[in-house]
């Protein structure tokens, strides 16, 4: 396939990244594998000794694992919704960042459900979910929705990659033969003919349309696992949209962080510009404000009703001796910090926005934890077993090890994928984008490192 000058420049800059694995990449890979190995040992203990090695007991039957599950499914929204919406709206500046977004979606959707498996005590009955599904159960909806969503995310990512695979195939990269064969197979004979372009365009449009409602359904279903349960802090009509909003919000945060890392790591200042951070910062600001409104509404209605059990959960959340500080962190860093960072021109810079995103993403993780644990620690019926570890949930090192292993897997997949495909899509840039990118590059702040062509 022939490349225009801008595509050629983008490809030449990124070619060494996918041709060489490099010592640094090996170092990171081994580091992540060591984390995963440690998690594997923790998993062995959990299987051998049972869930007694976790902090979960009769009352708090969900803990760190479920918080991780919701978190990962949440950040998968980065690709699904942001990429889908920007595609439909034909927003041109999306092109350099959509691959990162779609990679986040696929990897996060792959890792998230693993935490469900870690939470399930009986692996040997896992196939019962498929063999004996109960359509009335939100758990069944979740299994179906997430597997469908995963399939859609993979297709969406693949569609956006076909043209690039054709470029890799034709470029005769200095990579092993097996990789060349894979590129050739994945390019499925794409040569850039008008009719082939049309097929890709139809498919991309279809996926962009379907992925948005699908993503909304997936996270709504996830919220209904809680919302349809008559438990204080969970049984809420706004849980569906609240979860969806929180998911897009945290997904945006992870996307900004990934952009910041890749921009620095691979010197992609020409493509991922300050404007990208600022535009995504604006999206984050709007989402943050909406999320803050939902949060306030959720707790205000619960508090105003003064229902006994609801008050018990609210007391736990606001009490400094229980979850008060975490609750404060979740709201200050999860709502106020991103809003103020983007609102003030002085801090409306890539570094500050990325830093605010980091804190926001951590706060959103804490928020998921606070949704699950305080409610489960406040049962409607009196506790039968009042041993301390039954009354208060405290994650064990096994749960933390597996959580870190999940995060390491996320980073590892990202590292490996960035060595297999270019982070900036090559084929997406037509000649007209050249001018656009030039224009965007011109607005890049002085402290940004622009790599000369």
């Amino acid at each position: 396939m022939e490349l225009n000058s801008f595509q050629q420049k983008a490809f030449d800059q990124q070619k060494p990244t996918i041709e060489k694995f490099g010592r640094r990449t090996w170092g990171w890979t081994l580091f992540f594998l060591a984390w995963i190995g440690f998690g594997g040992y923790a998993l062995y203990l959990q299987i051998a000794d049972g869930h007694i090695v976790t902090g979960m007991r009769d009352n708090v039957v969900w803990g760190l694992y479920i918080a991780n599950f919701i978190f990962f499914i949440g950040i998968s929204y980065a690709g699904a919704v942001i990429s889908g919406i920007l595609h439909i709206l034909k927003v041109e500046w999306r092109k350099p960042i959509i691959r990162i977004a779609e990679m986040i979606t696929v990897i996060a959707t792959l890792i998230g459900p693993v935490f469900i498996l870690l939470c399930v005590g009986r692996f040997d009955r896992l196939h019962h979910l498929i063999l004996y599904p109960r359509l009335q159960s939100p758990i069944t909806w979740d299994v179906l929705a997430i597997s469908t969503y995963f399939a859609g995310s993979v297709i969406f990512l693949y569609l956006a990659l076909i043209k690039d695979f054709a470029i890799y195939r034709d470029a005769k990269l200095k990579v092993p033969k097996w990789r060349q064969k894979i590129y050739k197979a994945l390019a499925i004979g794409y040569r850039g003919t008008p009719s082939q372009k049309k097929h890709i365009k139809i498919s991309m449009n279809l996926m962009a349309i379907i992925i948005i409602p699908l993503a909304i359904i997936v996270h709504s279903v996830l919220s209904w696992i809680f919302g349809m349960t008559l438990r204080p802090g969970w049984h809420s009509t706004i849980f569906g949209p609240y979860f969806v909003l929180a998911a897009i919000y945290s997904g945006t945060g992870v996307l900004i962080m990934a952009m910041w890392v890749y921009r620095r790591m691979y010197k992609l200042y020409d493509y991922i510009t300050d404007k990208h951070f600022i535009y995504l910062g604006y999206i984050m600001l709007v989402l943050g404000a909406a999320y803050g409104y939902f949060t306030f509404s959720e707790y205000l209605t619960g508090w105003f009703g003064s229902e006994k059990w609801e008050n018990e959960v609210l007391h736990k959340l606001f009490s400094p001796s229980e979850y008060g500080w975490w609750f404060l962190f979740a709201n200050v860093c999860g709502i106020l910090l991103p809003i103020f960072t983007v609102a003030f021109p002085k801090t409306r810079k890539p570094g500050w926005i990325a830093l605010a995103s980091l804190f926001m993403v951590m706060a959103m993780w804490v928020k998921r934890y606070l949704i699950i644990v305080p409610t489960l620690e406040s049962p409607l019926l009196p506790m039968q077993d009042t041993r301390m570890d039954y009354v208060h949930y405290s994650p064990t090192w096994v749960e933390w090890a597996l959580t870190l292993a999940g995060i390491a897997t996320f980073f590892l997949f990202f590292t490996l994928m960035s060595k297999f495909v270019t982070i900036i899509p090559i084929s997406e840039f037509a000649d007209k984008e050249k001018e656009l990118i030039k224009e965007v590059s011109a607005t890049t702040s002085k402290d940004s490192k622009v790599v000369p062509a």
Partner: protein, 279 residues
């Protein structure tokens, strides 16, 4: 008479060898047809937890200790219980008119062997349904058979029960008079089987002299209730989901996976349209 014991073993030696003593609960139930059910339940305290011992052999013997003869054996079930039924011709009484039984537990692996004995006087409980206008009663009669003749037993409390799905529901109790009889009323609104049949039981439980006695009779005194499983309606709680839910599910899944299929079809067409000269 039911009783419990730990087999006679040296506890220090037991700990060293990591063996456990069985706890045997042995009782007899004399039936109205003069047969006797022997029931032995075996448990053991293993590592601080009282555990039922399933799959162990229990040997039952009848007669005084010196001339006891084996009348049968049974393997303990999941609850650690072994039961056998002794026919009247297998039973002998001693000079005091007592029936003597022994249950011997054959130990295995870390579980030690053990045995338990019991001696009860021969007796019989009879149950007779009596319908007086609309009042339903059962007459229960307790007879001592230890002397070879039937002697009424007075001043003894007997209970009347109705058999339910898992256990017996007590309807009432009465004390036997000089004729060894007690009359207990049966409610007329009890749910029965599909024909309205009730199984009424008379029981003498854990009596010091006679142990356990039981008699039963079936009467059509209940309200007919069919236990036939009917087709459950479509609901959230039933195995069948509501139609609207099924339709929503099928529509959503078809819409999404339909899109996927169209896209895969488009990709197949893309592959077919690869210019041959370009290869």
């Amino acid at each position: 008479m039911p009783c419990k014991l730990f087999a006679q073993t040296d506890t220090t030696a037991k700990e060293e060898a990591k063996t456990f003593s069985p706890l045997i609960e042995f009782k007899s139930i004399q039936k109205s047809d003069n047969s006797v059910d022997l029931r032995a339940s075996v448990k053991s305290k293993i590592n601080g937890t009282l555990t039922t011992l399933a799959g162990y052999k229990i040997e039952f013997k009848e007669g005084p200790d010196s001339v006891a003869k084996k009348i049968g054996e049974a393997i303990t079930d999941g609850r650690g219980v072994a039961i056998i039924n002794c026919k009247p011709d297998q039973l002998t009484t001693d000079a005091e008119g007592k029936l003597n039984f022994k249950a011997s537990f054959t130990g295995k692996d870390s579980i030690e062997s053990g045995e338990e004995v019991l001696a009860v006087k021969r007796a019989r409980l009879e149950i007779t349904p009596v319908k007086d206008d609309s009042i339903l009663n059962v007459k229960v009669k307790l007879m001592d058979l230890s002397t070879g003749t039937e002697t009424p037993v007075d001043s003894t409390e007997v209970g009347v029960y109705v058999k339910r799905l898992f256990s017996a529901l007590k309807l009432g109790a009465g004390t036997t008079d000089e004729a060894g009889e007690a009359t207990i009323e049966v409610p007329s609104n009890l749910p029965g089987d599909d024909k309205g049949n009730l199984t009424l039981l008379a029981r003498l439980d854990e009596n010091e002299t006679y142990g356990n006695l039981e008699a039963s009779v079936m009467q059509p005194w209940g309200t007919p209730v069919s236990y036939e499983v009917k087709e459950l309606p479509r609901a959230l709680w039933s195995p069948h989901p509501p139609i609207w839910m099924l339709v929503t599910f099928v529509v959503l899944m078809t819409a999404v996976w339909g899109h996927y299929i169209v896209i895969i079809f488009e990709l197949f067409r893309l592959r077919k349209e690869e210019p041959k000269t370009a290869v």
